[in-house]
Amino acid sequence: MSIRANAYTPAELMIALLSREVMGLGHVVVGALSPLPAAAALLAQASGPTRATILGSKRYNSFTEGARELFDCAAEGRIDAFFLSGGQIDGSANINLVGIGDPAQPKVRFPGSFGSAYLYFLVPRIVLFREEHSQRSLVPKVDFISAPGVSPPNVYRRGGPKVLVTSLARFSFDRRFRLESIHPGHDLAEIEAATGFDFDRADPVVETGVPTKNELALIRGRIREELAEAYPIFAAGI
């Protein structure tokens, strides 16, 4: 491994990459149980005009109408970006947050769909993230569609998945995934082997830009501190 590749942790890489996906947007919201996107949104907020709303935080959450306000806020067009993940993600950007196997008696049970089935339609820019890049997480077809990646033209839809960031690569999405860049230290063959769905390739597929000194300094300083309120365990581990 090069010195450059050693200079940051996998989590720091994810945080930097996810923050670039929302940099400069007006209002970026992060759901529950999402420490990596929370750090990324705070990094975007620290670097520009972005307002970051972090569910689970009191400091970075100005909602005062209870748990439903996030969803009404999205419906009103006041949220520009949101992060989603999935136990499984397939080539049509369908995400599965429910489980593996028959949903009535699953082999593996995930926590549940949360707001995905709604926000996937209402927020213009959905950033998908999945650290584990494997045939197990990126599948040909999800066992359960918590939220569909694409909809028929007559279905009211103001947004959807635009990009997927994993620990190996970055894909764009427009009805199909397209490999845009590969993170340093990995190659196309590795990604092809680890991806369960078909995808297109950008021409050229470039190398992902590593975290800058400035990004790393912010992550290790200000962002870590800001994150500790809502994600104490995760922040301690950065």
């Binding site: 149980l33 926590p111 089935a117 569609i145």
Partner: protein
């Protein structure tokens, strides 16, 4: 009139089989009441997470109190998956009604407004729709386009029998502080019975000033209150106390096995010291 009861008196108002709305783990969860429910061997409860749940449901499921659960998510926050929920779902010993957060809010708002349904955008094409069966798709009667249809989902109202939560304070009249956790107001409006445990009962009316009234659920909606100091532990409560993270991690570890979970109950639930 709101009754002021003991914790056990309050819990006695919850019959076996009751349909109970509960708040998410980050907010005003009645954990002392949950332990009391387990001690009195409640059975067949139907839980509604508003819109999610975590430790509270996991404990009740592990202790055999739950028949059915409707929630948009069940997890222990930073402590990870909810082990007893996951085990019960895999074993098929509980009925899980998967939903999505805004659908829970909208269905409770429909009950609050006394209307049979609420429309909601999104969701179409999710397997949630086909799995549930109680949601209906119609063509938006206000659709602008004469040619194309505009499909939209209608969700039936959910009126829980009971809303159960914990709050920092109530006054002697039964007015309850809820701050900005307004999903608790919607829960109480929608529910037939609202039972609230509180850190303390204060002497001055919460409705005495406009400032405190703004964050208050009026006694009109509160059937009974009971004092339960530190009653959200090991979860947190607003500005009062943070979640006990170490305890939650220890619980998540213990509850991975049947034996570990039984040990947890024997130490932290059955003795009635917490």
């Amino acid at each position: 009139m709101t009754d002021v009861l003991t914790l056990e008196g309050l819990i006695a108002r919850i019959p076996d089989g009751a349909h109970i709305a509960i708040p998410p783990d980050y907010s005003f969860v009645a954990m002392a009441a949950t332990r009391a429910l387990i001690r009195r061997k409640a059975r067949g409860l139907r839980l509604l997470g508003v819109p999610t749940t975590g430790l509270q449901a996991d404990l009740l499921i592990g202790a055999g109190c739950v028949a059915e659960i409707e929630a948009a998510g069940v997890a222990l926050g930073e402590a990870g998956l909810a082990p007893r929920f996951s085990a019960a779902a895999r074993a098929g010993t509980i009925t899980m009604r998967d939903t999505t957060c805004p659908a829970v809010h909208a269905a409770l708002q429909a009950a609050e407004k006394g209307i049979p349904f609420m429309a909601l955008r999104g969701i179409l094409g999710s397997d949630l729709v086909s799995r549930r069966g109680d949601w209906r798709q119609i063509d938006n009667p206000f659709g602008a386009d004469e040619v194309a249809t505009d499909p939209i989902l209608l969700l039936p109202a959910i009126a829980p029998e009971i809303a159960l939560f914990h709050s920092p304070a109530a006054d002697r009249d039964g007015n309850v502080w809820i701050g900005r956790r307004r999903e608790l107001v919607t829960m109480a409006h929608a529910a037939r019975l609202t039972l609230v445990t509180v850190e303390k009962i204060v002497e001055e009316s919460l409705l005495a000033s406009e400032a405190s009234a703004a964050g208050t659920l009026p006694a009109l909606y509160v059937s009974a209150i009971a004092e339960a100091p530190h009653g959200s532990w090991p979860l947190g409560l607003g500005d009062d106390y943070a979640a006990d993270g170490a305890h939650l991690v220890a619980y998540a570890e213990a509850a991975r096995s049947d034996d570990g979970f039984r040990g947890y109950l024997e130490e932290f639930v059955l003795p009635h010291v917490y």
